[in-house]
Symmetry: D2
């Protein structure tokens, strides 16, 4: 079917490519004419403006926004004059689900249908397909099914979940194809938000674990002996120089913690076992933060997900003032001076 795509960054462009390969017709727009030109070469229809993009689509039009979170509202506002009753706006970015609820509330009275799509897959999506979590009106989501079915990874060779057929029947559920209508407006981004919250937690679990492995040679370091340092009690228990690269690899094969994130860790460690190209300043996007806020509103304890988020804050120096106050208190009650680095 036909789809308009606004925003041709890495994600947007690859979504278009996957749709084109799947036989869909894509009309594309980006502030960068070069980005448009590149996809036109790959058989997309180019548009020089939002207006032109809309005009080149047949009604009811489906327009997919793949723009930065902060630009979604403005893009919709600019788009709105050209849209008509029955047209569909899809936000495929990383919007806060609360904005989806608001936007749907604003667009519905005008007859514009709003669909929110949380999209996971990163730079691998073009090849592997995108896992999509979708929110909005059921009829509209069903109408867009050919788009989602093409973008999704499909069943592929990922094993069937045991007992699934008996429970849900052999058809009618798209989750096995890698996309899911999760509920009304915002539900898609809500589920994607939690997905990312979990992602932070899982990543942190591996990161901490590998750090413990790396520290397994702690007993080899000649310990500083002073009043400010706790000596290692049993240095003979920490004499291992473990090969993290090989351990990541072996865990991929038959262990309980095999996962795609572990696969990626194995790749990263193969490339540079010391990870020396990284400084360890870890960014966080909104989803991790929003997950915690949602959990707090729900009254659900999320020790692990919060810790994973805070670790990212700390990695960027955001714990420094708190740490200084700890040192200051230690100085006040014990006369402890900070050790030099």
């Amino acid at each position: 079917m036909q789809l308009g795509m606004i925003g041709l960054g890495r994600m947007g462009a690859n979504l278009v490519r996957r749709l084109l390969r799947g036989g869909h017709q894509c009309t594309v727009f980006d502030r960068s004419a070069k980005a448009v030109d590149e996809l036109v070469k790959e058989t997309a229809v180019g548009a020089a403006s939002l207006r032109e993009l809309v005009e080149r689509l047949t009604k009811p039009r489906a327009v997919w926004l793949m723009v930065p979170v902060g630009a979604v509202d403005q893009t919709i506002a600019e788009l709105l004059p050209y849209l008509e009753h029955g047209d569909i706006v899809i936000d495929g970015g990383n919007s806060y689900y609360i904005d989806d609820i608001r936007r749907a509330g604003e667009l519905t009275p005008r007859g514009i249908r709003y669909v929110d799509v949380g999209t996971s897959g990163g730079v691998w999506g073009l090849e592997r397909g995108y896992c999509m979590m979708i929110g909005g009106d059921a009829g509209t989501v069903r109408y867009l099914d050919p788009i989602f079915a093409t973008l999704a990874p499909g069943h592929g060779d990922i094993p069937h979940t045991p007992g699934r057929d008996e429970a849900v029947g052999k058809d009618g559920k798209t989750s096995e194809q890698g996309y899911l209508h999760c509920g009304p407006s915002g539900a898609g981004h809500f589920v994607k938000m939690v997905h990312n919250g979990i992602e932070y937690g899982v990543m942190a679990a591996y990161a901490e674990g590998f750090a413990v492995l790396k520290g397994a040679n702690a007993g080899k370091k000649s310990g500083v002996v002073d009043a400010e340092t706790t000596p290692l009690r049993d240095p003979e228990h920490f004499q291992y120089d473990l090969d993290l690269t090989e351990i990541a690899e072996v865990w991929r094969r038959g262990s309980v913690i095999a996962s795609w994130l572990l696969d990626l860790s194995a790749t990263a460690l193969i490339r540079d076992p010391a990870l020396s190209t990284f400084a360890g300043r870890v960014s966080d996007s909104g989803e991790g933060r929003w997950t915690i806020k949602a959990a707090i509103d729900e009254g659900v304890p999320v020790h692990v997900l919060s810790s994973a988020l805070y670790e990212r804050f700390s990695s960027r120096g955001e714990a420094d003032f708190a740490d200084k106050l700890l040192s200051a208190m230690r100085y006040e009650f014990g006369g402890h001076l900070e050790k030099q680095a």
Copy 2:
């Protein structure tokens, strides 16, 4: 080759089965004659005592212990009179790596070789193969290679890690087959210990995330309005009845958090979406605890792994006294009475 197996519980019996299928000769012993008989039917050689087991093996003998952690030392002590210089004792259970270091120190002067093997794979190992992390003398581990190669899953259809051949060469590394000599005595169980520590963290990340999804309908509950309860500020943001079973399924397909533990969660949710057969009293084994202790000795922060462990403690009521003290303090400073359940 030939292997003696002591301990024919679920794990031990399945190890024997996989070895028999792989063409090895297994002599087996268990306190339960019935367990021995069952494997004898499957072509294993039965032994009625530890002595008989040893006598039925040719030198140098390789004896694999698959007994409860608390029984390893005693079993070795009972076995020792029958063993000779050059024989090999393999501990395939969940020993604390510190015990491995001690045992190797005790056995080496007698010429007995000690190998520690951390084994992951659970009830699925017979079919999928076991991921093994091995500690001990390099020559001994190499000698046992046929055993490990058979028990391991092998390369199978798990994708090759990009860049691996260039980095490590096409041969000589067993990690791609699913087993790895990690280092000297204790290294196998050290790596397995951290594996389980990570496992707790990853599991907790999913568990917390699914709990947040489940709470997405918090706005539908008619809130109690009293001084002891915080009202939900924006109930309209928590009106989703999410289908956790379908979400687990869709995440398995192309999402960043796809993993084997997620596969298992999908299976569990298919079977019983409310998980009502579980009370939520989560056991923990030693490895999770030892991981934290090792991290503390190394001075490595492990917020996530610790939280995951403590959540298990709490699930069994171990936070109750602390909680009572919180309520008691609230009563003292504010006259707050506990709300009834």
Copy 3:
């Protein structure tokens, strides 16, 4: 000076009492005529309605609201028709500071001055005085100084902070009297919010510590030996029956962790060393939650404050679903059955 008080619950009534004792004139209103009558007996002026309360005050009127968080906006709305340019509304409850910002924004154009006061002191405030954190226009706060000075504890016998005179001068700072103008609207409740966030963290630190003391006899319990339970490795290290009541008392005297919350713990433990009158279901108010949300917005890591909040959630059973999922995963990969309680 003159003050109108709306809301004569425990806190409101005691504020009035302390003001009356300090020589101020209080006009009071509550939905319960009985609550009004009681204070009238103690020389307050009673009012039968909000209108009457306003009419009985001389201009510019100062009206202090001490009503539940959820009732503040409505009370202001009902009050508004009777207020005039220059009048002052004080919210002394536990409002979210974001509501203060909004309210000030709504009232200022009408010439009504809005002051937010975070009040700490609980049931002890009548006797000890109230620690107050104040937000609003500096002139208005200064105008109300006689009220704050009376409600506050004053300098009393709490030691002077060393170096303070040199740094801030001997006068002009009210913080030493126990009240502080923290900044513009919302600043009072922001500081009170963080105060409560810290309170949760400090309480949890004590609660966890006392639980570790209580567990010091863990080695005396005959351990269950099964595959689902980690045996205590060195039971001889956990043979202490510690007297928590006496320990709380001794820590009050010269230790680094002496505090008012410890004093209260000592009182609670004297009354009932086993705390058996409490079930351990710990309520949380909004401030703890809002503190975490503010920290997340600021990008400040708050591991401890979050953990303290989540522990309260867990104490009320809010981790149950996550725990069930953990048990479900363990069943799937290892066939582990939950232990019975």
Copy 4:
């Protein structure tokens, strides 16, 4: 009475001074003759060797060790030849309680009595008195009572805990004087260990809270707008420049979180509100670590105490490798490059 003191560092010297002021006779030894001389000027009896120290005491001798943790065993070994049946060795340092249990086990058969004393009070102890937690044989502890009574702060003006007299009677409990016989060998250091674990947690709660206060002006910073940074959603809610020094002061007076550690924070902030003399590299001593290990052995969840410890690890860069792995994973799945500092 008479006491020998070995180790005249800050703590040891001040203990001697407080004892001398209390009318006790102190014989002192230190490797530094200068340290001995200084106390001799203050009427202590000097000793040039351990042997001399022992010889100058009358039997049964009481020798207090105030040496670094790592030097205790050696000092006892050197002392042992000169000690006789009935003599008492007191370890007043920060020993691991497990070492106390071992030492008592070694000394008891020789008739030497061993007492472990956890001492809190830091540089303030000389003036305020020391809070002491004592382990060992009841008779020996009673024999040393004059020493403990002098070192302790005594009742002073710290309020009596309500209900205490009815519960424990007016006499016979030393906890109100600031010292306590907690139980058999190791109990003193066990309680002191947990004291320090709590100390870490309480300190972290304040540190995090003050950091949130400091971040209250986050909305004033011109936000970077890029895909790697989450924009602050409501900058108008974070426009406060809070005066942390004044806030620390006001909380000291009547608030729920008043404490000695808050007093010290107020002092530190008066001295340097930006705490710019500190780098934020926070040391940790053994007690914090041992508390977590004890909690894990007991199966008691200690989210807050652990987080507080790990924050100290992180402050010294110990999370760096884990953070690098997080960045590496983000690069692998999303092509995310780290932001520059």
